[in-house]
């Protein structure tokens, strides 16, 4: 059993939890993920690690309530426990001194981006962070990311905070200004990563994206998380979750992530939770 040490409600549908798991906390690195299962009848879901505290032995997860499991997880309180918590899984981000790095986070994708920004900054990079969300309420970790970034740009779809528009517009602005960029990290909704990758491809800017496909075991066993990367099929759980954004087939990923949309709806309906 893994205890929920702390819980914060970041917005109506986004929650933060610090989970006690000393083994995972000890090994966790930016870019990796965990798999959790709430109870005996639960499914296994992957969540990217938002932070870790090696001394306290906790791992931070931030999740949006989108299906039955995340909704159920959201109802748990501090002091409650979840049954399974395995990790850290996947390959860590390849952090090095690149020069100027643009880190783009969209919605709940801002969460896994935070430790990556922090490590990139630590490695001596000039970090420009671009955070985007549908509206101000859904924006998270602004203060934390401000602290570890050299520049911070914020935008919202409705203009309730920062610039009105999309993260790709901000990136386009930076490129138009003639900013020299060495590499881009983009984590967020698939469509956001696709748009960013299409833009950077035109400018020949290497772009790393972090994928979150459907998984079961998370150890390379089931292949449910396979994605097309260039000419190859890769498993996000062991080969990723980060890949070269210019090679990922985002359309196939979008399709595969909707594989169980109907079943998910049915499960939520049966459990009396609204989607």
């Amino acid at each position: 059993m893994y205890k929920i040490i702390e819980k914060k409600v970041l917005s109506e549908s986004v929650k933060l939890m610090k989970i006690k798991s000393p083994l995972v906390a000890k090994k966790a690195l930016a870019g990796q993920f965990i798999i959790l299962r709430i109870d005996e009848k639960g499914e296994r879901i992957p969540l990217t690690i938002a932070d870790y505290d090696r001394e306290k032995g906790t791992v931070t997860i931030i999740f949006m309530e989108v299906g039955k499991t995340t909704k159920k997880l959201g109802t748990l309180k501090e002091g409650d426990s979840i049954l399974n918590f395995a990790g850290p899984l996947g390959k860590p981000s390849e952090i090095e001194k690149f020069g100027t790095v643009v880190c783009i986070g969209g919605g709940v994708g801002i969460a896994p981006l935070y430790p990556i920004i922090r490590e990139l900054k630590k490695a001596g990079n000039y970090v420009i962070s671009i955070l985007g969300a549908r509206n101000e309420k859904l924006l998270m970790l602004e203060k934390e990311i401000q602290e570890v970034s050299d520049e911070l740009h914020i935008c919202t779809d409705d203009g309730s905070k920062g610039k009105k528009g999309f993260v790709s517009d901000v990136l386009q602005g930076l490129i138009d200004d003639g900013k020299k960029i060495n590499i881009v990290w983009a984590i967020g909704p698939i469509i956001m990563m696709k748009v960013v990758a299409n833009l950077t491809k035109k400018h020949n800017l290497k772009t790393i994206v972090s994928l979150n496909p459907i998984m079961v075991d998370g150890t390379g066993m089931c292949g449910g998380c396979r994605v097309s990367v260039g000419d190859e099929t890769k498993f996000a759980c062991v080969d990723g979750p980060e890949f070269d954004g210019h090679l990922v087939d985002f359309d196939n990923l979008m399709l595969r992530n909707r594989r169980f949309a109907k079943e998910e709806e049915h499960a939520c309906h049966m459990a009396g939770v609204k989607l």
Binding site: L23, K41, L83, G220, M221, C222, G223, R226, F260, A267
Partner: protein
């Protein structure tokens, strides 16, 4: 009195009934039938059946005890060599092992050794297993990686010899392929749990959610343990490598079976993990895993369940019993047929598979006749789901993360026949060493490694 030429029948659920449920197919022998069957054994002096058994069970001895009505004594004999008899009594390919060597084959069917083993295991489980006396504490600690058949067997044997044993398991349940792979109707999960329970009662600790190679490395384990056994199996699915394999509707056998067996998707939405198969399912491959997929599909409500295999009936690697059960249940066999392409609809959902007819050519390196495509024989089959069951490769997680560990061409860990790897103190066995094989061979490897490890612990330091 002349010896009866055929095995005593084992009663089972009728095919019509059983495709509507996930309950076990055979019911097993009752005591009287078991005794009658045991009396067929000739008690040969040269004990050919024992030579056919990868874990060297004293087969004629336990059969003799059954024949004399000493069931408890028979259990005791059986358990000296195997800690997982209820599993072996259900999934072993007896026809190629113990029963394949039986002298009675000269006049008819062999003694039903598998059924007798199963009878004893079930008898004992109902009664409550006796915990045997362990040898004196050696003060040595062994870490076992993976709670599958190899790891469980190795752990059980080592703990009986007085060692302290801890298993590290990546998933949330024990059993490995016994839990995620083999379906409920062939090996009820309660039975796996009760066999694991027995190993726990012997004193083995099992830690779940520990992905060795990620959560903790083998090198770190080496600091705390005197020896390590790696039994992480062949978890990596193989693909057909044909166009369309990433369409919605194409699963690896591993994903499909893990969803249904370990995550209990057949009981969705009572359990949270979904699975969807539509009306027509095609399984590619003809091994035991393929039969499991095809039969599971029927139970999930498929109207048609195909086995598509590029060779002929003779080359199908599945156990006879599995093929027979699949046929009885209405699985349609499309043999000498190879897929060339999956075709999706405009939304990317699988709708068809294009196949080629094959004929058998010259024997290949495996000794089986090589399938050769018949040009221009392409045809399409409408399907909703494709299950790819053409084998698994060793899981690379550990081979990739242990420095200086010698790996062979197919990604398996190199060992000698005793389970020693290229690093002293690290041992390996089962599918991770041999490539995908059977439960019983993995158990045999776990057993041999336990013996080697025990010797190693005595001589080292």
């Amino acid at each position: 009195m002349a010896v009866r030429k055929t095995k005593h029948e084992m009663p089972e659920q009728s095919p019509k009934e059983r495709i509507k449920n996930f309950n076990e197919v055979p019911y097993g022998y009752d005591e009287q039938t078991a005794i009658e069957e045991a009396k067929r054994c000739l008690q040969c002096k040269n004990r050919p059946c024992v030579k056919g058994c990868p874990v060297e069970i004293d087969i004629p001895d336990f059969i003799k005890q059954i024949a004399e009505g000493n069931i408890d004594k028979a259990v005791e004999v059986l358990k000296t060599k195997t800690s997982l008899p209820a599993v072996c009594g259900r999934v072993c390919p007896y026809e190629n092992q113990c029963e394949g060597e039986c002298t009675l084959l000269k006049i008819g069917e062999p003694v039903a050794i598998g059924r007798l083993e199963r009878f004893l295991a079930d008898y004992e489980r109902k009664k409550g297993a006796k915990i045997p006396k362990k040898e004196k504490n050696t003060g040595k600690k062994v870490a076992v990686v993976g709670a599958g058949p190899a790891g469980l067997t190795c752990a059980g044997d080592l703990v009986k010899l007085g060692n302290k044993v801890t298993i590290f398991e990546a998933l949330h349940d024990p059993g490995g392929v016994l839990m995620y792979g083999i379906p409920e109707f062939r090996l009820p999960k309660e039975i796996v749990k009760s066999e694991v329970n027995y190993i726990s009662k012997l004193g083995v600790d099992i830690n779940y959610d520990v992905v060795v190679g990620k959560t903790i490395t083998v090198d770190e384990l080496m600091e705390d343990y005197d020896a390590i056994f790696i039994g992480t199996g062949a978890g990596l699915p193989r693909w057909l490598r044909i166009p369309g394999e990433n369409l919605d509707g194409v699963y690896s056998a591993n994903e499909f079976l893990t969803r249904v067996n370990m995550m209990k998707a057949y009981d969705f939405p009572n359990y949270d993990t979904p699975v969807k198969i539509g009306k027509v399912v095609a399984t590619f491959g003809a091994g035991n895993v393929a039969m499991d997929c095809a039969r599971t599909s029927l139970r999930l409500g498929a109207e048609k369940s195909y086995i598509i295999y590029r060779r002929s009936e003779k080359e199908m690697p599945a156990r006879n019993e599995e093929i027979h059960h699949a046929e009885e249940e209405g699985v349609i066999f499309k043999l000498l047929t190879a897929p060339v392409k999956f075709i999706g609809d405009e939304k990317g959902m699988l709708k068809e598979v294009e196949c080629l007819k094959m004929k058998l050519g010259e024997p290949d390196e495996s000794g089986r006749r090589r399938p050769v495509p018949i040009e221009g024989s392409n045809f399409k089959i409408k399907i909703d789901t494709a299950l790819v069951a053409i084998g698994q490769s060793p899981n690379p997680l550990i081979p990739q993360t242990v420095k200086d560990l010698e790996i062979e061409r197919w990604g398996n860990i190199k060992t000698d026949e005793h389970g020693r790897t290229s690093i002293p103190g690290i041992f390996a066995g089962g599918d991770i060493a041999t490539g995908a094989a059977t439960v019983i061979l993995a158990m045999g490897a776990g057993k041999r490694a336990a013996r080697t490890i025990n010797e190693y612990l005595k001589t080292e330091r």
